[in-house]
């Protein structure tokens, strides 16, 4: 495979010093790593397992709300915070802020994972288009549902705790969140890299290629499908929690459960890079983010047209993504070789 140690270390150190090279883009870079996490976790279902899900955004938004609610609820009454102007009355002390964030991220990881297990048990039995439509409903329903809960600000949303005053400026805040996002991305990447090297990875691929066969060979596919979704939800929840803190304002449809932006982007990024590969979603997310920000800067007003054109180009010319394209061009680099010893020997059973 292409990923090897020196290259990985070089990229890692670039990632570590990036906020000092491009100090003006810290928030954008942090969001880029969040997007990489979204693409990587979507690929667990959409790429490796062959289950196209549009509902992963559900766990993202769930994590966002859970994290912010925990951060606030630990120290102040949540309902008063979300009432008009409430966030101005209560102020987190620095240590309260970090305690809240730590516990908030833990809650944002665990609860979505549990929810994924329960929901997954119900709907992972569906296949193909039925599963896709069902998950689409999941994301939309969650947005509507969150918009109806008064405790978390209902339709007008809620503020996540602001960076405590007297703790450095916004530069420090930017660096702080950059490194957390970067760490989350690295952890997700390494965890999936390890998971794909185990039986889990092979079984997911087997489900993608032929689920009936996998079952008839004695594999409890449900167990693996649920584990995959739980994994995705775990990392997505943390990503959501961080995103809520970075943006500072949580709105049910636009920020927490943005099905038509992030929900679609995560699919597109994985496809652009090459779904079903480990490195593909990472490349796809980075390229996509650069293009997207470029469109928003240079084609303002036409940005969605440009983005639409990009989607069409990707689907028409790179249906298998960048990695899939490379694999088709250079199959031997990906280990697809016929044993040279007797290349000419066709199957001849004697």
């Amino acid at each position: 495979m292409i990923s090897n140690k020196p290259l990985f270390l070089i990229l890692l150190s670039i990632g570590l010093i990036l906020p000092f090279i491009l100090p003006g883009f810290k928030l954008q870079l942090s969001i880029m790593w969040i997007l990489v996490v979204l693409a990587l976790t979507w690929d667990v279902q959409g790429g490796q397992m062959g289950y196209n899900t549009f509902g992963n955004i559900f766990f993202f938004g769930l994590g966002m709300y859970l994290c912010a609610s925990t951060q606030i609820g630990m120290f102040f009454p949540l309902s008063e915070w979300t009432a008009a102007g409430g966030e101005k009355t209560f102020v987190h002390l620095p240590e309260q802020y970090f305690q809240g964030l730590t516990l908030g991220l833990i809650v944002a990881a665990i609860i979505p994972a549990i929810v994924a297990m329960v929901v997954g048990y119900g709907i992972l039995g569906l296949r193909g288009h039925y599963f896709a439509i069902c998950t689409l409903g999941l994301g939309i329903a969650a947005g509507e549902f969150a918009g109806g809960i008064e405790l978390i600000g209902a339709g007008q949303g809620m503020t996540s705790p602001p960076w405590p005053k007297g703790l450095g400026d916004t530069e420090l805040r930017g660096e702080f969140f950059y490194y957390i996002c970067f760490t989350l991305m690295i952890c997700t990447f390494l965890f999936l890299r390890w998971a794909y090297s185990t039986r889990f990875g092979l079984v997911l691929n087997a489900i993608r290629d032929n689920e009936d066969k996998a079952e008839s060979m004695g594999i409890d596919t449900m167990k693996y499908k649920i584990s995959g979704w739980v994994t995705s939800a775990f990392f997505l929840g943390i990503a959501g929690g961080l995103m809520g803190n970075m943006i500072g304002y949580i709105e049910p449809v636009e920020t927490a459960f943005p099905g038509k932006t992030f929900g679609v982007f995560m699919v597109l990024m994985a496809i652009l890079g090459g779904k079903g590969t480990l490195i593909g979603p990472v490349i796809g997310a980075i390229i996509f983010h650069i293009f997207k920000e470029g469109f928003w800067t240079f084609f303002l007003g036409w940005q969605y047209v440009a983005l639409g054109a990009l989607i069409v180009i990707v689907v028409v010319f790179f249906p298998e993504g960048i990695m899939g394209f490379l694999r088709e061009k250079f199959p031997s680099k990906f280990g697809e070789v016929i044993d040279e010893k007797d290349r000419l020997s066709q199957i001849e059973l004697k």
Partner: protein
Amino acid sequence: MSAILQINGVSKSFGGIIANQSITLSVANKQITGLIGPNGSGKTTLFNSICGTHPIDEGSINFNGKEVSTLPIPAVAKLGLLRTFQQTHIYGKLNCIQNMLISAKPKNDSLFSIFNKIPLDLNDEAEHLLEFVGLYQKRYLRAGDLSFGQQKLLELAMALMNKPKMLLLDEPTAGINPTLINGIIDRLIKVNEEYGITLLIIEHNMKVIMNLAEEIFCLTHGKLIAQGTPKEIKNDQKVIDAYLGK
């Protein structure tokens, strides 16, 4: 010889179509048994019933002393009763070695074994079996890029990798060129003798099944009409009528 698979009065109908009608048969342990019948006579339905693809309407299916007609598909497979498909079912985007590795039965199969490493010694076993079916040179190619016949052989090797007690083969020689068919027959006999695996084979090619099987069952319109040695089946008037029409 004792029976490893005992089917008692199994019936299955789809809407108004009766696919199997109180079929009773038993397959002797470590023997090659054939199942023949014209198209649409209910052979594959019987296979599906045995493997748990669909529930049966009535009757019982007993494998190795255990009732399997109510078990889900993976549970039946874990007992050591595997099947291959008429249309080959392989994992197209994985290479042959990976196809083999995933087919091996994991040593422990608890909830925490999901993230277990694939044991390294399985590689040798996989290569050995791929050599046995003549796919060793192509082991690093994607299984989906193999020809149809090669995929059939791969599917056979995958089944062997699982070390089943009994294999249900659904037309193992359909769509394969005549010279290769002889190779497959040899392999199947070896599988039966060396690995001690009981085989139940659906086959349309009479030459093949008459050479392979020690006992043959014949189905027509969902009913069992004849059973016996190949010679008896060949001369059975009911079988001849079923195939040629009366």
